[in-house]
């Protein structure tokens, strides 16, 4: 719709002014096109081309092998293990971020003394760079001098210091915890923005109709912030699926690959094993997964817009 409105009137193009306008349009578009082709499209196609070759830095030659890189990844149990781990990471972290983010947003939407200060403070974890966040949690979870063990021991919740990052499953949940701590504020802020525009009349009307606090939440709040929930869900799922940095810092995919996500798997194949062809194929497989996710969400959003 908006595209048609902004495109020039074809009749106008034939006039002198129109020609000048067209030149101007082309001049404005060229840089954007160059950037899109040079930085995005050409490397994307080159990576696709590389993914059809056996491209290993240590062996000369780059023979065309068709889909062999893809098929070897798809039959590798390590690939699927990494994929399922990524799915687990994505579901749990996105779910927690959404629930906690909503709770924080509801709290910050209430009127109380110091609300402005609290709203600013909540954003701090999100403002920290991931490297700082990762290092911080690595220290907190440290079994020998970490703060978590000290606190839990003093509270009497554990008897001995626990080696948090030494067991694959526990380590995965520790990484999820660190990610949730960092990303929840973003979700909270998105939802808070939605909450703030709900007209007070709606709540009044609901109260008059006999709705209690839970009823008002169910029938007024939730429907009004549906789009906010969807937006945070989409961005967080896709980000979580590509997670790499916090794992690189906290666990380096260990112990015993317990925190190796699919992006980390692709990284190891590419830069440690120097298999660039396989690495490119893996990147495309990750892209396919994310496209599938995006399609599902796209449908949801379209239904939302139509409703």
């Amino acid at each position: 719709m908006s595209l048609r409105l902004s495109s020039p009137n074809p009749r106008l193009l034939r006039t002198r002014v129109g020609r000048e306008e067209r030149r101007l349009i082309v001049a404005f578009l060229v840089p954007a096109l160059l950037v899109t082709f040079g930085v995005v499209l050409i490397p994307l196609l080159e990576a696709l081309w590389i993914s059809f070759h056996r491209y290993s830095l240590t062996t000369p030659g780059r023979p065309f092998i068709g889909l062999a890189n893809y098929s070897s990844a798809l039959v590798d149990p390590g690939f699927w293990a990494a994929t399922w781990r990524t799915v687990y990471f994505t579901l749990v972290s996105t779910g927690l971020e959404l629930v906690l983010g909503l709770m924080i947003a509801l709290l910050l939407n209430e009127r109380f003394v110091g609300r402005g200060l609290l709203r600013a403070l909540v954003l701090v974890p999100w403002a920290l760079p991931t490297i700082v966040n990762g290092m911080m949690w690595r220290w907190i979870f440290n079994a020998d001098y970490g703060a978590l063990n000290a606190i839990l021991l003093q509270l009497g919740l554990i008897k001995d210091y626990q080696a948090w990052l030494s067991s694959p499953w526990v380590a995965m949940n520790c990484v999820i915890f660190a990610d949730v701590w960092k990303m929840t504020p973003l979700v909270a802020m998105l939802l808070l923005a939605n909450l703030q525009v709900i007209p007070a009349e709606l709540y009044e009307a609901a109260s008059i109709d006999g709705a209690g606090p839970l009823g008002r939440f169910r029938y007024v709040t939730l429907p009004s912030i549906r789009s906010g929930i969807l937006v945070s869900l989409v961005t967080r799922t896709i980000e979580a699926f590509k997670v790499f940095d916090i794992i690189f810092i906290m666990t380096r995919s260990g112990p015993a690959n317990g925190t190796q996500t699919i992006a980390y798997y692709a990284y190891t194949e590419t830069f440690t094993a120097l298999q660039f062809g396989k690495g490119a194929a893996l990147s495309y497989l990750i892209a396919v997964f994310i496209t599938l996710l995006a399609l599902v969400y796209f449908r949801l959003i379209r239904e939302e817009v139509q409703a």
Binding site: S56, L57, D144, S253, A256, L274
Partner: protein
Amino acid sequence: MVKRSLAVLVVMAVVLSIALTSGCAKKPQPVTLQMITMKQAAYSDAHISEMVKKFNEANPNITVQVTFVPYESLHDKIVTDLASGQGQYDVVLVDEIWPAEFAASNMVQDITARITPEMKAGVNPALLDILRVGDKYYGIPWILDTKFLFYNKNMLAKAGYTAAPKTWDELVTMAKTLKAKKICDFPIVWSWAQAEAIMCDYAQLVYSYGGDIIAPDGTAKFNQGGALDALKFMIKTLKDGVTNPNSLTYLEEDVRQVFSEGKAAFCLNWTYVYALANDPASSKVAGQVAIAPTPAGKPGTAVGVSGSMGLSLAKSTKHPEEAWKLIVFLTSEANQKLYASDSLPIWKAALDAPDLNAPKELAATLRVQYQAVKGRPQFVIWYNAFSTKAQVALQQALLGKATPEAAMSQLVKDMDSVKK
């Protein structure tokens, strides 16, 4: 008026350009070199900056910019820079396990012709060989390293021990006593994280138990004999509660910190720990730390793992002469003697030199340990890919998710995929 000032300007411009060009002809062109090294073990970043400053003063036309990265990022950072053939680095720090791979992928230069007779005669031959692939040399060793046994004298004395353990079994017996007497909860701490760190500890144990990891022809040796004994030993120390269970997440720096906090009585680590663990500024146990050669396994003699590193010329360097000058300066006997407590010199004569700037015990222990030192199987170009699989297999056995035999036979199967 305008004309005159124009004429003055022209004359000035001519004079200036003559002055500038003549100045250039006399002085060599200014050159900026990029070097990548690590901020971790061996030479500290402060010491490296000092060395580079001295080099800059002696060579005013050469500016050296140093990039420091953790060891765990070094390989990948070099690969991403040099793989395209248009890298920014001139001098790169290369671990002894990478030359075969880097030479095959054409990232570093063959410097065989640059090696002087003095280097051939003066440098410890085993060390010069760490950067040799076939009959070609791809760099000069800079960091001499092997894993020593560090122990806390005071803790051992409290338990009635006066000397370092000679065998691994003796070490475990001592550790059990320390634990029983509540001197230390987990007396031994290792760097068994999923990283190259675990391979170093593992290799030292395998060699000490008379085993091997990979045969020179590329076949598996880790699934038999001494290698299997070494893995079983590692698992047993965990089960007996003498190994710190968090070792599975620790790199060498974490091990140093736990040891320096006084939370461990024994650890295997690189040379640099001796100075840092005895420094009150970074250690709570300064003055209590002693160094010993690696203990022996049951059947064989003690063998230390080699963890040396060297400096190479990047293939894409535009200033090979200046870069080589920097390498020669950094690896020179004079420079190495000065910073010997970080890393002992590669020069044979330097170890006995009176002006060796290192504690006497350090050089003495090295002399004992260097009678038997062995590297990881760096002779195969797929060592790094193999190592990532081996790290996981070892951790699975250590976590009890697979028996040692099952984990190692799975690793044999994985070898096919890494050899590609």
